[in-house]
Symmetry: none
Subunit: 204 residues, 4 copies
């Protein structure tokens, strides 16, 4: 009815088919997880927001949990890209910290609420068989690796256990940016203080 039988010249312009229902679902899921949180978002809500049938949700995700984890993974990848685009191997400690923080705050600014939503403790979304490591811990591990590299190249003190200070750095950044956005703090001031704090803590 009114839907042309012609091979959809008008809507699927190029490649193969178009499973854009997945894209619509992912966008809707992100929107709702950010706005309402994991528990207050029902698969039905996501499907309606995406303007697809409720059943379609389960064509693309085995369950709600998987959908949330997928959202978290996307956020992580996007943030990684932001960071990789701004830091270079030759950065000094100050530069590396400053560039990374800039990347994180830029991401948070253009994707408001996403980082906070993505960091919902996984204990909260799955009492029992949770994944090995919460997202925050994995991000802490990334910082541990960075710390190891900085120590190896003599840019920071070698007296630290990288695994531990990696978590410390991540924790400081996370809490400062989370609270900063809740309290609507001035971004430049936050960045400046946090950069100074981390650089002094690490400098050789």
């Amino acid at each position: 009815m009114g839907k042309s039988a012609v091979h959809s010249l008008d809507e699927a312009p190029s490649r193969r088919k178009r499973p854009d229902s997945l894209l619509k679902l992912k966008a809707a899921a992100r929107k709702l997880f950010v706005e309402r949180g994991y528990h207050a978002t029902r698969p039905q809500d996501i499907a309606r927001e995406a303007d697809v049938g409720h059943g379609t949700f389960y064509l693309h995700f085995p369950d709600k949990r998987a959908c949330f984890l997928d959202f978290v993974d996307d956020a992580r990848s996007e943030l990684d890209a932001y960071i990789r685009a701004r830091v270079s191997q030759e950065d000094t400690l100050e530069e590396l910290i400053a560039h990374t923080l800039h990347a994180i705050f830029d991401y948070a600014e253009s994707h408001p609420g996403v980082l906070n939503a993505a960091m919902t403790d996984e204990a909260v979304i799955d009492a029992e068989g949770a994944q090995a490591k919460p997202l925050l811990d994995r991000w802490g591990d990334d910082w541990a690796e960075t710390v190891r590299n900085l120590a190896r190249t003599g840019r920071i003190s070698t007296q630290y256990d990288p695994a531990i200070v990696g978590q410390a750095i991540l924790g400081a950044i996370h809490q400062v940016s989370a609270e900063g956005s809740r309290s609507r703090r001035n971004r430049a001031v936050v960045l400046d203080n946090l950069t100074k704090f981390l650089v002094r803590a690490l400098k050789a």
Copy 2:
């Protein structure tokens, strides 16, 4: 310990009744919130664990949320007591950091999981009418106050915004201890690294 054995021949030592159902419920609630988290713990589970009827739960708490908030408040008070017992006004920066961290780690050791459970984001337990500030932010504010005092007495650099580095300190401690307990790290090493990290970040 400290509870006199005199007169307790049986179980109900002297006069009257003993409306200890509240105590049993609080203990049960703590146990289950720690073991399973807020969402996976039902009022009914708490009542059964406390060995009282379902309805008794609602004699003492208006709802599940209030029970959780009560648990959080208790944890906060207990931890405050631990900290106050170990730090003194005349502590140097190093001492203050070390003593506070000792207190936190002692508390975490003798009450495993409690701090993590208590820090469940309040957004998670009550979408709408949540309290103004999450517990973590309030603890960050406490650190901000400490930072202000240290700066005023010349023990740390005055170039920081206390509100921001307060949150940074709290974030570092929280993440290090949370991840540390998940990864079963050596306590002494964690303490040592974290103390050094914070002292260097703050020292004048």
Copy 3:
């Protein structure tokens, strides 16, 4: 403590003991059944309103239903007394109708809400083993008896089945006064219309 051991000169002036807890409970029950209705009134509420312990309620009533039925019986007795005080055997039809309606409206005015609350359909308060006749039907029976008397003494048409017009009269009175109080109608006008209506319907 502070309660005189002297044989209560001050409080139980005359006869025996004083089981005034029953009186307090009955007053409280009436107040709450009128204000909130049967289902929204809990035995606990009645006990608290009466300022006695919850258990005391069950010392005087086997259950909530019995308490309500007791309230209904009281209302019926009181209204009967009002009516008996105003009508006499020698009243003409007009007088009898007018006096009875005056009695009912007087009672309703000095005990607002009581008649309405007392007429709550018993189906509503006890799904299964209800009493043989709802209160309204029993009041209708009373009117049937009155009609029989009026017919016997030639004051009204004899062509009616008293049982049926008894219910009709009661129904008209009940609905007019219930709706009249809900719509805050003028009492005199209501009385005048209703009297005329019933007299014309019955007059020989």
Copy 4:
């Protein structure tokens, strides 16, 4: 009647599905509200009676109250249709009363208990946000309108306040038919008495 039997070879005559769960629920709700009353009927009971899952109930009604109100509305519409089919504008007073009562008693006979169940005081089903007027009052208003018309066309005495005698008529009819069905009175006798009663009360 009016539904063509053509094509209904089996049960699902032609196209698609048949979302008759609503119809089954409405029938089940009517049955149970009539048999047990509002408070003794649980949504779950209605669903089981309709042979659908509990949740299906909430697909069609926001809550139990809405389901009951829907039942009431249906009953009112059905009865209105019965009455409209039997009375005409040119009826004399006697005819109008007689035809209307016939319609009501016919409806009550072919839908036993429905009118009584539908007239459950709305105060009983919803303490707070109830509708402006109970169903009975609204039916009384309908009678008031009828009385106004009769008075305007000179068919009844003009000395009445239509609003009040409207309620009186409705009250008489309601109580007589409710008690009549409880006492299993002879329908013809009841009709005869009630018609005479009302006609005499109203006749000019």
